[in-house]
Symmetry: C2
Subunit: 224 residues, 2 copies
């Protein structure tokens, strides 16, 4: 019986999950940065979490960490709550997509299994949150969709925006105002040679949008 993890630990696991989605390792300083705490504190916690039974992560000194299966499941559990909450806040309480992240970040740790279940039910078991991020189902399975980064689009290629996985409210408000929301059809008009800045057409409105490569690189689309 895995005992109840502290909110702190849940946060560490969630962050590590996010940092290692590419299959690589997460480093001490990446984590320290992301969580706005000192590297020393991170080292301590990583050591602790790799010496539990079962261990939540595999940790190699000076190299980095990755989650074990136990760690991954714990991370997905929180991620499910987080994304369900975001969807709930938008769908039922009139939040905008830039307001939900910070709120969910706190509420996710105060959420009982019953509440999770009820929210899931009244939302009709949603598959995606307001940013288009997939919500793991109650078995922690994640819907898989064929997707690619906006940065991979070819000139004149169109697609539908799937995910805008930013957390910064300012960024989200800006993107929202441009029409860069999940579900929106876009087409790549041109790309500047040197810095890869993209000029896009919002198909519905005919509006044109300019997006830098850094912002655009994280937005994912389904081409076609």
């Amino acid at each position: 019986m895995p005992k109840e993890l502290s909110p702190n630990i849940q946060d560490y696991l969630k962050r590590i999950y996010e940092l290692t989605r590419d299959g690589g390792l997460a480093t001490t300083s990446e984590l320290a940065d992301l969580m706005a705490i000192s590297p020393a504190s991170v080292t301590n916690m990583l050591q602790k979490l790799s010496n539990t039974e079962p261990p939540y992560l595999t940790y190699t000194k000076h190299q980095g960490v990755r989650l074990t299966e136990a760690g991954r499941r714990a991370a997905l559990k929180i991620l499910r709550r987080h994304r369900l909450l975001e969807e709930f806040l938008v769908a039922k309480l009139g939040y905008t997509w830039d307001e939900v992240h910070a709120e969910a970040e706190i509420l996710e740790h105060a959420m009982s299994p019953l509440l999770e279940e009820r929210m899931d039910a009244v939302l009709g078991h949603p598959e995606f949150d307001p940013h288009g991020d997939p919500i793991p189902d109650s078995n922690l399975d994640i819907p898989v969709i064929q997707q690619t980064s906006l940065a991979n689009l070819k000139i004149d290629q169109g697609g539908k925006i799937l995910r805008v996985p930013h957390e910064d409210p300012q960024v989200l408000r800006y993107l929202g105002k441009c029409g860069m929301r999940p579900g929106v059809e876009i087409k790549l008009l041109s790309r500047t040679p040197y810095d890869q800045t993209m000029r896009l057409l919002i198909v519905e409105t005919g509006e044109e949008v300019v997006i830098g490569p850094k912002l655009g690189g994280q937005i994912t689309v389904r081409v076609g």
Copy 2:
């Protein structure tokens, strides 16, 4: 600018508020009992909370505590969140009145002012929670209603149940099954001489209910 109080401290203040609603003092052991922690821990916290600037309570060694105005306001803030949450869970997420207390107890500490405001709005600024307890408004004013304990009813006197302020799910399920819910009209049929057990008529259904003096003493009614 009063700094952000920790969940722990908020809980202490809320408990003390509840214990001193009769105007008296709360004692160390009452608090220790209620919070299921040792008396020594309570003493520590009481000393701490009476030495802040501003102090949240006035504490006299070996006598007891009561809240200051700052303490009372902090307590009401939490109480508002707690009761709004209870109402929200019942009205919007299909909870029963015996399930909401424990859930709200945790969520109340994770609730932002924005969330409080949105819940209040979608509920239409409710005045009472599912147990009939009054919800302080956003100025922390509490609706006043003329009420008396069920224990004060005279034989053959009728009234409408206003509050059933129990927390124990078992008790609430029992009372609910009997029809003892806020809003229900009842009439006192008889009272046993020695222990004051009450026999009541649920007016709507014509059903009869027997309630001990301890349970009944906490239920409040509006007579007439």
